[in-house]
């Protein structure tokens, strides 16, 4: 590396000193104070001015938010520059060792996928605020060739939800494909699919869009964000969207069943080593009707539905139909 002669200061050195000064200061710094104290600003007033403007832009580009604020909060006639610590510093996330490892794996997955965003730097920032030794964790992000299909549309939707901005995208159904313009309201998942709940600008109706049918999504700056009507109730909308739910179903086991079985591993209780013995009667709560029928039939002669009787009768008639079809 070339050693600079005289008092010429390396640009990175000047930028680092500027960042440190702007973070450490208790009040906004005047431009004149910056020029006097921080090494590296030299030349005519105009050229120092130009240098500072460029430095400020570069810092902002890197995500360092240099704020322009009045020096005296009561009078705004004189302004200065400052980086507010709360904006700059990563808050403490208290990541556990396991969470840190998963974070490293998530980065590796992104590196393997087609995603254009490199999160290696973000990973280092997230991990160096941690009390956990970073070296062991980063080992997990190497040589991990896990290619998962990632849906970039979700990122754009998250951003629009946060900024409350409209979206435009191409939406394909089984019959057609066309452009939609919407105001996003929320996201939900059902049966392994993600859905966007949004107001369609065309007819101002609230609709659901399956995320994997969305393509070419982008923020729609032309149309202002529309709020849902005050009468809109998300939870009742979701209830009607997700189909009929059965409040209580009583089943009887005719074989030992694993606690991992989709019927019983329904999130409410954690998985342990026990198996449920033959003859046990269980009550399942708040379960989707179609999902219930699917899982009961999948389990075959291991499970019998006792109540409600209409579900029991439906299973009997479905089984009779299947037998007839295969005789």
């Amino acid at each position: 590396m070339l050693i600079m002669a005289g008092d010429r200061v390396d640009k990175t050195e000047r930028l680092l000193n500027l960042t440190l000064a702007l973070i450490a200061t208790r009040r906004p710094l005047r431009k004149s104070e910056i020029f006097e104290t921080i090494p590296g600003y030299s030349g005519s007033p105009e050229s120092m001015e130009r240098m500072f403007e460029r430095d400020k832009d570069e810092l902002r580009e890197m995500g360092v938010s240099v704020q322009v604020l009045p020096i005296d909060p009561l009078f705004d006639d004189e302004i200065g520059y400052q980086v507010i610590s709360q904006d700059y510093f990563m808050p403490d996330l208290n990541l556990t060792r396991e969470e840190s490892i998963w974070l490293a794996i998530a980065t590796a997955v992104l590196n393997e996928s087609s995603s254009s965003i490199n999160t290696n730097g973000a990973l280092q920032n997230l991990l160096s605020g941690n009390e956990i030794p970073i070296e062991e964790i980063l080992d997990y992000s190497h040589s991990w060739n896990l290619q998962l299909p990632l849906n970039d549309s979700l990122m754009t939707i998250w951003q629009a939800l946060k900024e409350r901005s409209s979206l435009a995208f191409n939406y394909s159904t089984s019959t057609n494909q066309r452009m939609r313009r919407v105001s996003p309201h929320s996201l939900t998942s059902r049966n392994g699919y993600w859905y966007l709940i949004a107001i369609d600008h065309e007819d101002l109706k609230i609709k659901t869009f399956r995320i994997d049918r969305i393509s070419e999504i982008e923020p729609d700056r032309k149309v202002p964000f529309t709020e849902p009507p005050e009468s809109f109730d998300l939870s009742s909308f979701l209830r009607s969207f997700s189909g009929e739910r059965i409040r209580e179903v009583k089943i009887k086991l005719h074989r030992e069943i694993s606690p991992m079985h989709p019927l019983v591993a329904r999130g409410s209780h954690s998985i342990s080593d026990y198996t449920l013995p033959v003859g046990s009667e269980l009550v399942l709560q708040n379960i989707d009707r179609n999902e219930l029928l699917d899982q009961i039939l999948w389990a075959g002669d291991a499970v019998e539905v006792l109540e409600p009787t209409d579900i029991r009768d439906e299973i009997i008639s479905l089984l009779e139909k299947i037998i007839e079809q295969h005789l």
């Binding site: 990563m90 556990t96 997955v109 992104l110 920032n125 998250w158 039939l297 019998e304």
Partner: protein, 308 residues
Amino acid sequence: MSAKSSNARLSRLLKLIPFLQKNSGASVEKTAQLFGISEKELISDLNLIWLCGLPGYSHLELIDVSYDSGFISIANAETLERPMRISFQEGAALLLAITKLSEVTPHTDSGTLLSLRNKIASLLALDLPQNSEMPLEDQGSLILPEIQSVIESSGSLLDIEYFSATLNENLSLRIKPMEIQSRNGFLYLIGYSLSDHRHRFFRMDRVLKVESVDGEVTGGSRDINGPESAIVSIEVDEKGAWFMQKWGLDSLKRDPHRNVFTGSVTVYDPRWLERAVLASGGTLRVLTPDSHRAQVALAATRTLQKYR
């Protein structure tokens, strides 16, 4: 130096300073590795940090760096004690990968991933829906990474507990894990089972527990052809379209008069076919071979007897 490379260097320095304060005594060699630079570049970074500090710039304000013994120590840098926030874009990309991972990993891993997801979402001030189908308690689970590291070390075996949907029961097997593959939106572990000397596919989200054990693959042949399979011809009515989407049917044909599709599917274990047809509730019908038809009829009869 161009704006771009000075940016990259500054952004590295802003990471390096908090990192070195948290990891006092880190070696030059390891640190250079972690930051993806040469030791020479790292030393030049350290020399530059040493020139920086707060206005005044005497030894009281300058950052103090030493790396004499090959181990780095840094002092008087409290201004940059913590790292910089990640950007929304970076955070959203991480969330995307975390969400996807939580959908395909073993169930207990998902708990850990969801607690990580919630932390990142709160960092971005983002309100994400809670998925009621997933467990929320964080059990600190690392099943998938453990499997991966056994595959990489290529020396050891795994004792695996697995929920087989085909058999509708838990299996305990000793396997030699070979590979993790992504297919149809699921992750599969491919392993050679020492219990029955054949290759098996394990859907990752149904792996319950793993433990690595020392040992070798002994006895039997290591290279076994795939399990015996049968080509089964199936008829699907319009309500069963999901089946075609999910599993794919070969030589698909449509009968316009009856509005049904016919096609064939490769079946490795007839017990899987049995359950798939039952669960379809009459929208799938096995046409040939007769043995598979009979087996489905038998399974339905056996189930029906429980209700009689």
